[in-house]
């Protein structure tokens, strides 16, 4: 006991040495005792800024817990006196409380309180403060709430909470300015929702759920100070909403969500399945530029018919085509003869010109490359022995008219008669008799000569003028003149042009002029051609026609009497055909590239040469003119 007392004295002295400003710091413990706590102030607060109270506790000093064992002394800093005064009122009802009433309370002044022992010798604790700093207002009173609105769905509602300031705080006089803080929570939740500070005595609370109970409370503090007062009593808010509102909307929302998801999946499937189409629709391929002209695809794929149609439709190509081969249509080829002639081993030109000895008049105008014309003569029944070239009188169309014109002084381009030489055996070595072809213009020449007969030696006997037939037709006498040598007066300068290098026994074309010459009257054409009335014996006629430079239109064709010659050519009888002119001089070529003929000259049955009109181009050579021709 005595030791304890001594110990306590020691401890109290130790406390005295401590700085007065420090709050209750626990003194160091003695060895075996529990941690001691000296008496100290627990709290000092003011409720209305007019009075304040302080509380202390004895701590571990049990003996000091009796009333009166500890004393409180205070000091106002602004007062001039520095004397400590004792607590004016020790609250009787509450132990360890010192109450300072209004007269002792000065705001905006610093107070210092000391906790001393009874006999003034030990100061356990000291506190200094300003009264306005320890103000903790009372809680607001008279809190109530009113419903502002309920949401359309009936799930939420808003309320407004009202309260009254604490009665102790003189707000009306302006002594205290309070700010309030509202808190709410769901009934059984642990977390409080804190709303912003509010100066006025009402607060709106939004977003509360129906069918749920809420607890709302409020507290206040002085404006521009930090000490909150106690919370008010909570009020409970409950708004009954639709009983099954939440449940009824639940399946609707679920169905809605599933429907949306399903539609989205369907949409994606459609997109992925028709990706290509969609790509084409959304991003159409840019069409390649269409250039007027020929589509190269036609050439690639080998559609020649389309290509040719395209080409034909093109005006440029059309002219070209016709210019190239204007007489393609008028020439016939006797392919049988040609084959036969080939079998004999003779070249075409030789056969044509009678160079082939045994063939004699087996001439064949073979088609040169690209020569596809059909002759007007048609001799299907020529003897096999001499698969001659009655059809060989088919001339190639004139290819290069300017070339032909160059050398011959003939004023007119007359028909270049193709006169197959009808050699009487001499024709083999006969040079080419060339008629003069005057080629003034391609248009006005007489290009055609009808070959009425071919001599056994290969000479061609040309018939007098005859109607020019259309393309592909045989000569008018072609039906009735099956002789190949009876051709339409078709001239083929190309033939001459081709053969110009070769001195042909056939009088045909001057090598440089390429004109066709006609051998009039001195050919012995195929004997069968003798049917033709127009046949003449060319030699007999030679002197007869006037020596004109103009083309002799008419040829004398020798029609040997049947059986007189060993003519390999036969003319099958065609009695029904009316006698027609053997040839007709082509007057002109009109725009449509059809031949304009001279219709006026009926072919004389005899071999009398027809006098050509003076304007007629020189196309044919009469036999008498042959001598004027220089090879």
């Amino acid at each position: 006991m005595m030791a304890a007392r001594h110990l306590l004295l020691l401890l109290s002295q130790a406390c005295l040495l401590l700085e007065t400003g420090s709050l209750a710091a626990a003194p160091p413990l003695t060895a075996s005792e529990a941690p001691l706590e000296s008496p100290h102030f627990t709290a000092c607060l003011s409720r209305e800024q007019e009075t304040f109270r302080c509380w202390w506790s004895a701590g571990s000093f049990r003996n000091l817990s009796q009333p009166g064992a500890l004393r409180v002394f205070f000091l106002k800093k602004n007062s001039l006196s520095r004397t400590w005064m004792e607590c004016p009122n020790y609250t009787a009802s509450v132990p360890n409380e010192c109450y300072f009433n209004k007269s002792y309370t000065s705001i905006w002044t610093s107070y210092c309180l000391q906790l001393r022992s009874r006999h003034h010798n030990v100061t356990y604790d000291e506190r200094c403060f300003n009264v306005e700093d320890i103000v903790h207002p009372d809680p607001p009173v008279s809190m109530n709430w009113t419903l502002l609105n309920v949401s359309r769905s009936g799930l939420h509602f808003d309320i407004i909470v009202r309260w009254e300031p604490p009665p102790s705080a003189d707000v009306k006089a302006g002594w205290m300015s309070l700010t309030y803080e509202v808190q709410y929570r769901e009934r059984n939740a642990s977390h409080w929702e804190v709303l912003d500070l509010e100066t006025s005595t009402q607060q709106s609370v939004y977003g509360l759920h129906t069918n749920m109970e809420y607890e709302v409370r409020v507290r206040c503090k002085m404006r521009a100070f930090d000490n909150f007062g106690q919370f008010s009593d909570s009020i409970f808010v409950h708004v009954p909403g639709k009983v099954h509102g939440k449940e009824s909307t639940f399946p609707v929302t679920v169905v809605f969500i599933f429907g949306v998801v399903g539609l989205a999946i369907l949409f994606l499937l459609i997109i992925f399945s028709h990706q290509q189409k969609l790509m084409v629709i959304l991003l159409p391929p840019v069409p390649a530029p269409k250039i007027k002209g020929i589509d190269p695809d036609l050439l690639k794929k080998g559609r020649l018919d389309e290509l040719s149609s395209v080409l034909s439709s093109h005006p440029l190509c059309k002219a070209e085509m016709y210019r190239e081969e204007p007489w393609v249509e008028f020439i016939e080829l006797d392919l049988e003869r040609m084959d036969a002639a080939e079998k004999t081993g003779c070249s075409d030109t030789q056969r044509l010109l009678g160079l082939v000895p045994h063939l004699g008049s087996s001439h064949r105008l073979a088609a040169k490359d690209g020569d596809l014309g059909r002759a007007s003569c048609y001799e299907p029944e020529l003897s096999e022995a001499d698969p001659a070239v009655a059809a060989a009188f088919c001339l190639r169309p004139r290819v290069t008219s300017p070339e032909l014109q160059s050398d011959r002084p003939a004023p007119d381009a007359g028909p270049a008669p193709v006169a197959g030489s009808a050699p009487d055996g001499e024709a083999d070595g006969r040079p080419v008799i060339q008629t003069q072809l005057s080629t003034q213009s391609s248009v006005s020449m007489d290009f055609y000569a009808q070959v009425s007969d071919v001599t056994p030696l290969g000479g061609v006997v040309l018939s007098p003028g005859q109607q020019v037939r259309g393309p592909g037709e045989k000569g008018e006498g072609g039906d009735g003149q099956p002789l190949k040598n009876q051709k339409e007066g078709q001239k083929k300068e190309g033939e001459g042009g081709v053969e110009k290098e070769v001195p042909l026994p056939l009088l045909i074309v001057a090598p440089d002029s390429g004109a066709y010459t006609s051998e009039l009257g001195n050919r012995q054409i195929g004997s069968d051609c003798s049917r033709r009335e127009a046949f003449q014996d060319p030699p007999a006629e030679m002197p007869q026609p006037p020596p004109e430079k103009n083309a002799v239109e008419q040829f004398a064709l020798i029609v040997p009497p049947a059986g007189e010659y060993q003519s390999p050519y036969f003319i099958p009888p065609t009695p029904q055909l009316p006698p027609v002119a053997d040839y007709t001089v082509v007057q002109d070529v009109d725009a449509q590239q059809s031949l304009l003929l001279n219709p006026s000259t009926p072919p004389p049955p005899s071999m009398a040469p027809v006098k050509p009109p003076p304007a007629m181009p020189v196309g044919y050579l009469t036999p008498d003119l042959l001598g004027n021709i220089s090879l």
Partner: protein
């Protein structure tokens, strides 16, 4: 008493209320015709709002200053504070303030306002020099400038209006102890609170409303 008080009070309030001065319609002081009359209660309300704003600003400044510059709270320094306006006798209680005459109360308010003109400008200058202060509270410094301007206007006007007797002894600026920023802020916060409360009480006195 009120009539004697009314003139200077109204004039004071007019100068306190800057908004009134820059209003479109001139304010009638003595009820002249052709001008807009503001009730005294409205004037007081506006002034009280201004003072509340000032008080809040000072409180914020003080707490921020303590938080920024003095992280460790030292209670001792708090105790030893003594403001330069301590010489001004101010009612320290509600009853005392309510018992005080309106004129006296007005005088107290004006004294306080005048006393704070110079220290605030000094503080403003020191704030500008402080490097840390720009980040400390930039807009608050701006508001302090506003307050300075306001107080300057008030002081100049009040000097002409109120006699020196009413003002009582003033501490000249030379006597003012140089205060550090923290103490200044503490004192200014306290005094702005005083001004606010006194104005409210004055309003209740002059333009009484229910419950005053």
């Amino acid at each position: 008493m009120f009539r004697k008080l009314k003139g200077p009070v109204i004039f004071l309030l007019m100068f306190l209320d800057v908004q009134v001065i820059v209003g479109s319609t001139p304010i009638c002081v003595h009820g002249h015709t052709g001008c807009q009359t503001l009730s005294l209660a409205d004037l007081f309300d506006r002034v009280i709002q201004h003072s509340a704003r000032v008080h809040g600003l000072s409180s914020d400044l003080h707490s921020e200053y303590e938080q920024y510059f003095l992280p460790s709270k030292n209670k001792i320094s708090k105790i030893n504070r003594n403001c330069h306006t301590s010489y001004i006798l101010t009612p320290n209680g509600k009853e005392n303030a309510q018992r005080l005459a309106g004129e006296d109360l007005t005088g107290v308010i004006l004294k306080l306002l005048l006393a704070w003109r110079d220290p605030l400008s000094q503080f403003h200058r020191s704030m500008a020099q402080h490097e840390d202060f720009t980040s400390f509270s930039g807009n608050k410094a701006l508001e302090m400038s506003d307050m300075m301007h306001l107080l300057g206007m008030i002081s100049n006007s009040v000097r002409g209006l109120i006699s020196n007797e009413a003002l009582g002894p003033q501490a000249s600026s030379s006597e003012a102890r140089p205060m550090n920023d923290q103490q200044l802020l503490y004192c200014f916060r306290r005094d702005s609170n005083k001004i606010q409360i006194y104005l409210k009480i004055l309003k209740c006195r002059i333009a009484p409303e229910q419950g005053c």
